[in-house]
């Protein structure tokens, strides 16, 4: 029966189209496990934070609803504004260096025989066991007995000086993450058509002029993308802070994420921690919105130019 039906059906595109639609529907079902996991373990938890922020809750005892008390306390908490200032300072130092190094190194190694080896080296710290990296840094750079201070006499006093401690965390983060930036910049350099550069050279541009007036403007989307990545890295620096300084000395390296962790899981004020989470979430979304608008405006400006 089925055979005859298929024989009778003229070979039009109609049934193939319908097959394609059912196939696409079947394909959509394959997203279910991942989508369910995202909803259950990211979206729902983030939504429930609003409720936890109204609790007084140690994590082990039953939560007590306290209404807006946590949020009222939070906006008056000097520690919050200090940690926000620390986070912004961190980003203000780390981001420009991250962007510059990513682009400069990607340009410098383009087409070099060493290109692959250098990329492999720069990417490696992001993959090395992070606790092991922290130990290596501690033994190398401890101002009191580290190898580098012993051998060279040059020490970064990160155990006692606030500025040095923040710089130390910035350096560690750059050490870990710059490889990612170089790879992204390098990938988009390769995306620039050779003819564009050739044309500029034919018109008499020197190599540095080609770089400055042809290559750099074409890297603008990449720079914006790296800014977004760099911002995420900056907001996630709490792990490095925990490994290197534990927020010290005197709480001066306590970035927002570390303040959150410390409040919730070392002082066991999870309700207050939820309030900080809520604040950090709103802050992140505002920042993301700002960056999205910036991206859109640049895009529009380029489209009209």
């Amino acid at each position: 029966m089925a055979e005859r039906a298929s024989l009778r059906r003229p070979p039009t595109t109609q049934p193939r189209l319908r097959d394609r639609v059912t196939a696409r529907r079947a394909a959509f079902a394959l997203a279910l496990p991942a989508a369910a996991a995202f909803v259950a373990f990211s979206v729902v938890p983030l939504a429930t934070v609003v409720r936890y922020a109204t609790w007084r809750w140690s994590g082990t005892t039953e939560p007590v609803p306290v209404g807006a008390a946590n949020l009222l306390r939070l906006v008056q908490d000097d520690a919050l504004w200090q940690s926000l200032a620390t986070t912004l300072t961190f980003a203000a130092i780390a981001l420009p260096v991250f962007l510059t190094l990513s682009v400069v190194i990607a340009l410098a190694i383009e087409g070099l025989r060493w290109e692959r080896a250098i990329k492999a080296l720069l990417f490696a710290p992001g993959l090395v066991t992070v606790g092991g990296s922290a130990i290596a840094w501690y033994l190398l750079y401890n101002p009191d007995f580290g190898v580098v201070p012993e051998l060279t006499g040059l020490a970064l006093p990160w155990t006692s000086q606030p500025w040095a401690a923040l710089l130390y965390v910035v350096l560690f983060t750059l050490w870990q993450q710059t490889g990612y930036g170089v790879l992204v910049a390098s990938a988009s350099l390769r995306g620039i058509p050779r003819e564009v550069k050739e044309a500029a050279r034919v018109d008499g541009a020197r190599e540095d002029q080609v770089r400055r007036y042809v290559v750099l403007p074409m890297l603008r989307p990449t720079l914006l993308f790296l800014t977004v990545i760099g911002t995420v890295f900056s907001l996630q620096s709490y792990t490095a802070v925990y490994l290197l300084t534990r927020g010290g000395p005197f709480g001066t390296t306590r970035v927002l994420g570390y303040f959150l962790y410390e409040t919730a899981f070392e002082r066991y004020e999870l309700g207050y921690g939820a309030a900080i989470t809520l604040f950090a979430l709103v802050f992140t979304l505002l920042l993301a919105g700002l960056q999205a608008r910036l991206l859109a405006r640049r895009g529009a400006a380029e489209a009209s130019a």
Binding site: F41, I105, T129, Y180, A187, F225
Partner: protein, 257 residues
């Protein structure tokens, strides 16, 4: 331009120094430290013997088990999701938002959720919330975009179901990208520091929890610390050395703007 090369060389040295030290410190002989003289260079395996009773092996076992399960799930679920998006499902926006979300925001609510599921202090706490990863979905989607779609259309005409197509047609084509993504996913989970410390206690300590505790408890035993750091890094270092080319290519292709 010479200054660009100088910057690159200086930064490469800055990156290489701790890596080289990580490799060397594990072999420092105890005498060199007693005399506080770094010039007494030499190599010794004593530090590795001292690791025997510290619980490093156990913590690495926990990490291997949890990370292995997570990577397997993230690849399977991630490939399914990437394939669905490639077929027109509008899930990419959510993936991108989750990708840009600082991970510390989930600590408090996940603690409550896992408490409700009675998963605190179990292996499940290290696995269940990580079954899907936005980075894995994103990288596999970027890889899928380079697959000529005729192969899928042809398989459909042959009557293959979608699961079969993903498992038998797509997965073999994407093997290099799947391998590279697996290593990146392995590193991401293996390197979690604060999350496992919050959700589990000592018998279930991961390797990062063990290392941070060792540094806190015995900060002056350099050789021991060095050996522990090196042993704990070996799985990732080996994976990276073997698959470095694929990892870098997949990552570059994923983030080509």
């Amino acid at each position: 331009m010479i200054w660009m090369r100088l910057v690159t060389a200086a930064f490469a040295a800055f990156v290489a120094l701790p890596l080289a030290w990580l490799a060397y410190a594990a072999f420092i002989p105890a005498e060199a430290l007693v005399r506080a003289n770094l010039a007494t260079f030499g190599l010794s395996l004593d530090n590795f013997r001292a690791l025997a009773g510290t619980g490093l092996a156990r913590s690495m076992g926990v990490s291997f088990l949890a990370t292995g399960l997570v990577v397997a799930a993230q690849l399977a679920f991630g490939l399914g999701a990437a394939y669905a998006i490639r077929n027109g499902l509008r899930l990419l926006a959510l993936v991108m938002v989750l990708l840009a979300l600082p991970s510390e925001l989930l600590l408090v609510p996940l603690f409550r959720l896992l408490q409700g599921l009675a998963l605190i202090d179990t292996l499940g706490a290290l696995v269940v919330p990580f079954l899907a990863s936005p980075l894995v979905v994103f990288l596999l989607l970027q890889a899928l975009r380079r697959v000529p779609w005729e192969v899928v259309e042809a398989a459909r005409l042959d009557g293959a179901g979608e699961v079969l197509i993903v498992a038998r047609v797509i997965a073999p084509i994407l093997r290099p990208e799947l391998t590279a993504t697996a290593v990146l996913a392995f590193a991401a989970h293996w390197n979690l520091v604060l999350y496992p410390r919050i959700m589990t206690t000592e018998p279930l300590w991961t390797v990062q929890a063990f290392l941070t505790e060792l540094l806190r408890a015995r900060p002056f035993e350099w050789g021991l610390l060095g050996a522990a750091a090196l042993v704990a890094s070996l799985p990732l270092l080996v994976l990276y050395v073997v698959f470095e080319k694929r990892i870098i290519e997949t990552f570059e292709a994923g983030f080509r703007t």
